[in-house]
Amino acid sequence: MKIKNEIKLSFPSKSCNEGFARSAAAAFAALADPSVSDISDIKTAVSEAVTNCIVHAYRNKTGIIEMTARILENGRFYIKIKDSGCGISDVKAAMQPLFTTAPEEERAGLGFAVMESFMDKVTVRSRLGKGTTVIMEKQLHTKDGGNEQP
């Protein structure tokens, strides 16, 4: 699908960057003039994905998180969040609601469930010791149906 606009960001896995990452993604998506609900859903899903990188992928260390966001033709929003951390041994199990490897930090184990509920499509690719890439897509409810340039 044709890319109408794109941003790429990379930032260290510090928890203070959770707010920055979701705000940046929301500000970029807002260029396509989506609904308030779309923006809210994107902010929540991005927050979950970035928090996973910080809490799980780079546990006890700091690494780089790469975020690529795109506005595609027909008002479709795409976002990729990539880390080079520990990886997930069983992606299917990790995506089950209430699954967590960090209960002591009061993680609810709902990160992937929130991403899947708030976005239209979630794809997770992971390799142990190499890292994890989460790609999410959402159809934006734009006033012009996504035909205008963002």
Binding site: S15, K43, T44, E48, T51, R107, A108, L110
Partner: protein, 100 residues
């Protein structure tokens, strides 16, 4: 993120404001837990009226406080949660254990 805590007879009300995420939840939960330990309330009321954003870290925050309140035979109530916040709460099934 801020938490203003008011203790009345048997009830502790926490007025939360700003954004609740993994980064902010750590500080908030320690403030609330200190107040629970001090006042040992029968009811803990978490007021989300001024909360502008919450991800699943907020669910962990509420569930953790439920566990603590259960230990002292107390209850937890959620007040003034916005539609967006309720959406995250419903996904977790939180309303089965907490009054929203």
């Amino acid at each position: 993120m801020q938490a203003v805590i008011e203790a009345e007879e048997k009830a502790l009300t926490v007025y939360l404001s700003g954004e609740i995420d993994h980064h902010s939840a750590v500080e908030i939960r320690s403030d609330i837990d200190l107040a629970i330990e001090r006042y040992k309330p029968e009811r803990l009321i978490l007021d989300f009226g001024e909360v502008t954003f919450m991800d699943s870290s907020g669910i962990g925050l509420v569930m953790g406080r439920c566990k603590i309140m259960k230990l002292i035979d107390g209850t937890v109530e959620i007040a003034n949660a916005s539609t967006a916040i309720k959406k995250v709460m419903r996904l977790s099934g939180l309303e089965m254990i907490v009054k929203i």
